[in-house]
């Protein structure tokens, strides 16, 4: 269910005279996610009781599966200065524009060590999720969110933006009875392409094959970037190029994105990704090696095993568990590690190696990287990345925003 005001005049009326608070990019993205239903059944930011349940039982207070707290952190001084109290409704501003209203239900502090340990299984400050939590302000506000201003997505993002409601409509239009989500933060090499193709076979299972009713939803994660990451535009357009160049049929493939600040919480985050894709209308979700992991904090397949630990019926999306795809010089093809017997001769896809090839602007062989995708990545570098397909300081400083908020 969406929590978005229907008209500008209603929005203007709602925000008149409200105290306003500026929010960070992460909170803005999460307001949008809550309001459009990416985080259903959440209607707002969590209070202490919900967070306790999430940390202790991986559920909301009513027992609904939920793995990661969704919180609104704020400086205590701001609460004092603005005299924000329980029962108030406040206006949230992002980049000086009205974004949403928050109905203040609770103002509280929380034991961050408990939260970090529960979500990440560690409190090690080197873990990027822990680092993110260490940057949170010391006070939290819980309350329902209503979006008062619809974000206007900038090209090329506008072509790929679907709210859960729109995505469910799109899936229905395509006639897909089953949809498998492929989560990514990479431009696709052939290993990724085959991960998706393999997941399609698993998902299609016993379904008819003369008339295809199973689709792949490429669900890119768009969030904060660091120097050296692929630029967002190259990721989206690279995946779309696989489609446009015919490596995926038009009727079984769709590219979109979700705005989310990765926590790198491994198995817990895999559950959250499954919930988000269930809300988008997916019936299946592919999980590969090291899903949402970082360093050596989680086992390579912990994000698979966690699905064995959740009560039956708590998710309406099925995990598709996959091993690696590699190139085998004996088979002479990209093949599945669960099938190929030439493990000694295998040539593994290494993200770092592929990045190194792209960095050198050397066109890879078509077996490992489709030439059309390579050209698209290079074109995106020129058009959006100030000459580089990877984030540079210049890109981070000058890039166009993913979305803008119109003036109310």
């Amino acid at each position: 269910m969406e929590r978005v005001v229907s008209s500008q005049s209603q929005a203007k009326k709602l925000i008149k005279g409200l105290k306003s608070v500026a929010v960070t990019g992460r909170i803005a993205r999460e307001c949008i996610n809550i309001a459009y239903g990416f985080f259903t059944p959440l209607k707002g930011f969590m209070g202490k009781a919900h967070i306790n349940a999430v940390c202790e039982k991986m559920t909301l207070t009513n027992g609904t599966l939920w793995p990661i707290p969704i919180v609104f952190d704020i400086k205590e001084e701001v609460i004092r200065e603005k005299t924000i109290e329980k029962g108030n409704t406040i206006l949230l501003l992002y980049r000086d524009r009205a974004l949403a209203i928050l109905e203040v239900e609770e103002i509280f502090n929380y034991d961050m060590t408990k939260m970090k340990q529960a979500v990440f299984g560690t409190t090690d400050a080197k873990h990027p999720g822990v680092k993110m939590y260490d940057g949170f302000e010391n006070t939290f506000i819980a309350g329902k969110i209503t979006l008062v201003n619809r974000p206007k997505f900038q090209p090329p993002f506008d072509k790929f933006w679907y709210t859960p409601k729109q995505m469910r409509q799109k899936i229905a239009e395509k006639g897909w009875k089953r949809t498998v989500a492929h989560q990514t933060r990479n431009v696709p090499h052939s290993g990724h392409e085959w991960l998706m193709k393999g997941a399609w076979f698993s998902t299609n299972g016993e379904m008819p094959v003369e008339k295809l009713e199973t689709g792949i939803l490429v669900s890119c994660i768009i969030g904060p970037k660091r120097v050296g990451d692929y630029i967002d535009e190259a990721i989206l357009l690279g995946h779309q190029k696989l489609h446009d160049a015919g490596y995926f049929r038009d009727d079984i493939h769709l590219v979109s994105f979700v705005m989310w600040d990765m926590r790198y919480a491994g198995p817990k985050e895999a559950i959250l990704h499954a919930i988000i894709r269930e809300n988008l209308g997916c019936t299946h979700h592919m999980f590969g090696r090291d899903h949402a992991g970082v360093g050596s904090y989680y086992g390579s397949y912990d994000a698979h095993r966690i699905f064995d630990q959740i009560p039956e019926g708590s998710l309406n999306i099925k995990p598709i568990r996959v091993l690696e795809w590699w190139y085998c010089p004996i088979c002479g093809e990209v093949t599945y590690s669960g099938l190929c017997g030439h493990s000694k001769e295998r040539q593994a896809f290494s993200g770092t190696m592929i990045r190194s090839i792209i960095q050198d602007k050397v066109k890879p062989t078509r077996l490992i990287f489709r030439p059309e995708v390579f050209e698209q990545v290079m074109e995106s570098a020129e058009k959006y990345g100030f000459g580089s397909p990877f984030c540079t300081e210049e890109y981070l400083e000058k890039r166009q925003p993913v979305f803008k908020l119109p003036k109310l």
Binding site: S190, V227, G228, Y327, P329, V334, Q347, A348, F349, S350, T352, M353, R355, S356, I357, Q359, D360, K361, V362, K363, P364, T365, L367, I368
Partner: protein, 111 residues
Amino acid sequence: MKDIKVRMTEKYPINIWINEERHEKLKKLGLADMTEDVLAGMKVLRLYCTDDQKNQLLKLYPMAKYDSATTKSIELLPADAKDEMFELVIERKRLDVIEEFLKVKKNLSRK
């Protein structure tokens, strides 16, 4: 002490990726067999640095890094620096060109 010895003898590769054009150049000079086939026909020429050369390179190119976790090679060097290294290989017809590369760069920075 043991650690220092290991570091002194360890070699740090730089991966120069070889496309068809580069492969042709190497072939003409009879150097094509210096490349390694690493992934689905993707060829690489590995130039090895000493610990000291690695440190000098990382100082010269602060965005570069030694990837000790996965590739165990020096990564994120600018493409034009690698182009220059490749051209030195072609000119000198040998792989140990890093010392000369660093010397040229030092001379340039002095000017």
